[in-house]
Amino acid sequence: MKLIVAIIRPEQLSDVLEALFHADVRGVTISRVQGHGGEIEHVENYRGTSVKMALAEKVRLEIGVSNHFVQPTIDAILSAARTGEVGDGKILVLPIEKIYRIRTGEQDQDAVTPVHSDS
């Protein structure tokens, strides 16, 4: 079980979600974050004050997957999130020791296997 954390551009989110769904990844948690990397920093002006915006808007995806899903997930993100310009983001892979599905208490593998639901 791995936790895949990806930092991407907000404008790529829709594409990445679609790519993930095509790769059969059904569970993902996202958050709005700000990032600093090699991007050009914008200078903004508020009345007489100039500020360098060191942080750019990003989206963070967090996906818990079983081991054989790791590579497809990463490939899906890599291809859908890439624009080729500085600031495309990073993917981190972390080890997970245990995973629970709150609704049922199921653990690990079972916890991330999508159940049938009528949507």
Partner: protein, 429 residues
């Protein structure tokens, strides 16, 4: 000239002025948060440069004595616009009242090109437009021009303001082109309460727009006022019914839109029809706009905030129905179809078509000429980042922490960077 009429026209003018900030919120709430300041500035900027050019030049072209097509330069630079009476009010108050119309009309167009038009190009465009398109059209109807002679009725601007602006919006949306993700990604309103605030303040201000167009505080103003209450109320009621019957949910964005549509519809008719006809017009006027909104979203036309469906169709419907419902018993003057004057409907339709043709053609020419001199739209990458940062160098909502102050000592360097970034955006993003 008397103080009662002056009192009302002072208020009416202030009310119409408020409509432009109101429009900024109506539009601003409907775009994504990265573009809200740009969208709002597209309205606010009309309060500055546009107002000045109107006072110095546009007003004269529209209202100074001239021929059927255009006024003259007699009032240019506000010469001869003073305290003397113009109807029941001082001439300069009439000029101010008209000025508020000239401010909001170009601002209306912006709804069709938000989220991708370059700000400088937009500013140049509306400056040329208010002089080259709005002023003559206003002259035709209200300045004693040929549409007035023809007998076209337009109480407060169905054709002059709404059809005119919406036609320009249609042309601008086509010339500027759709947003890069249009039809591919969902682009949702970032703050619906702002849109509702805009709609509420627009209604409030519209009382000045319509009832102020009586140019005095007599019974005609009261009639126009009452109709401006009843028509949008009915449009909102009908719209809500449509929503409930179609999908089961009355939406807030829909309610805000319905209010604006109802206001547009009654604008050309406000002082000419009975209150009961206003209810009828509010109901009938809902139909074309309601379905056009649904249909438009499925087309390739990225009229982003639906200026055409709301103002264009609403204005045209209103103008034509004015020819149906105008009633001499209420207006004390012109009659329409029901009152035994079927020809008025044709006159109305003709006036709509003439405005449509001129506004469409002239807008196209202005934009194409401008496009020779500067890019009209930003590049795709900048669309992703948003126009607030790239066109205005600021953000609407900041978390506050994490921005690094450019210290005075570093100011020169920072300024260098700013110049790079900004000239990039000033250039051809």
């Amino acid at each position: 000239m008397n103080n009662a009429d002056i009192a009302w026209m002072l208020v009416a003018t202030a009310l119409v002025l408020l409509m432009t900030p109101a429009l900024a919120f109506f539009y601003g709430g409907l775009v994504r948060s990265k573009n809200v300041l740009n969208t709002m500035m597209m309205s606010f900027v009309a309060l500055g440069p546009v107002a000045v050019i109107w006072a110095l030049l546009g007003y004269s072209l529209a209202f100074a004595p001239g021929n059927g097509a255009i006024g003259s330069l007699a009032f240019a630079g506000l010469r001869g616009v003073g305290m003397e009476a113009h109807g029941a009010i001082p001439h300069l108050l009439f000029m101010a009242f008209q000025g508020t119309f000239a401010i909001i009309t170009p601002a209306l167009i912006s709804g069709a090109v938000v989220e991708r038009m370059r700000f400088n190009a937009y500013l140049a465009f509306i400056l040329l437009w208010v002089v080259g398109v709005y002023a003559p059209v206003a002259h035709w109807v209200w300045g004693g021009g040929f549409l007035a002679t023809m007998g076209a009725l337009d109480f407060a601007g169905g054709a002059v303001v709404h059809v005119n602006a919406a036609t320009a919006a249609l042309v601008a949306a086509v010339v500027v082109g759709p947003r890069k993700d249009y039809g591919r990604h969902a682009m949702l309103p970032h703050n619906v309460p702002f849109a509702m605030l805009g709609a509420g303040l627009l209604w409030f201000g519209w009382f000045g727009f319509n009832a102020g167009s009586a140019l005095s505080a007599g019974p005609t103003a009261a009639l126009a006022f009452t109709n401006t209450l009843l028509a949008p109320a009915t449009t909102l009621a009908v719209w809500t019914m449509f929503d409930l019957f179609r999908g089961g949910a009355a939406t807030a964005v829909g309610a805000a839109t319905a209010i604006v549509v109802g206001l547009v519809v009654v604008t050309p008719a406000a002082g000419y029809i009975s209150p009961l006809s206003a209810i009828a017009m509010g109901a009938l006027g809902a139909i074309p706009s309601y379905f056009a909104l649904i249909y438009r979203a499925k087309t390739k036309l990225d009229d982003s905030l639906d200026v055409v469906a709301a103002h264009g169709l609403g204005g045209a419907t209103g103008a034509i129905l004015t020819g149906v419902f105008a009633d001499a018993a209420w207006s004390g003057g012109p009659s329409g179809l029901i009152d035994g004057n079927p020809g008025q409907v044709l006159t109305q339709a003709a006036s709509v078509l003439i405005v449509l043709a001129y506004s469409g053609g002239a807008t196209f020419v202005i934009l194409k000429v401008l496009a020779l001199m500067m890019p009209l739209r930003i590049t795709g990458r900048v669309e992703g980042v948003g126009l607030d940062v790239t066109q205005h160098g600021e953000e609407a909502y900041t978390a506050g922490d994490g921005a690094i102050l450019v210290k005075p000592k570093e100011a020169s360097i920072a300024h260098g960077v700013a110049d790079v970034v900004v000239s990039e955006s000033g250039g051809g993003l």
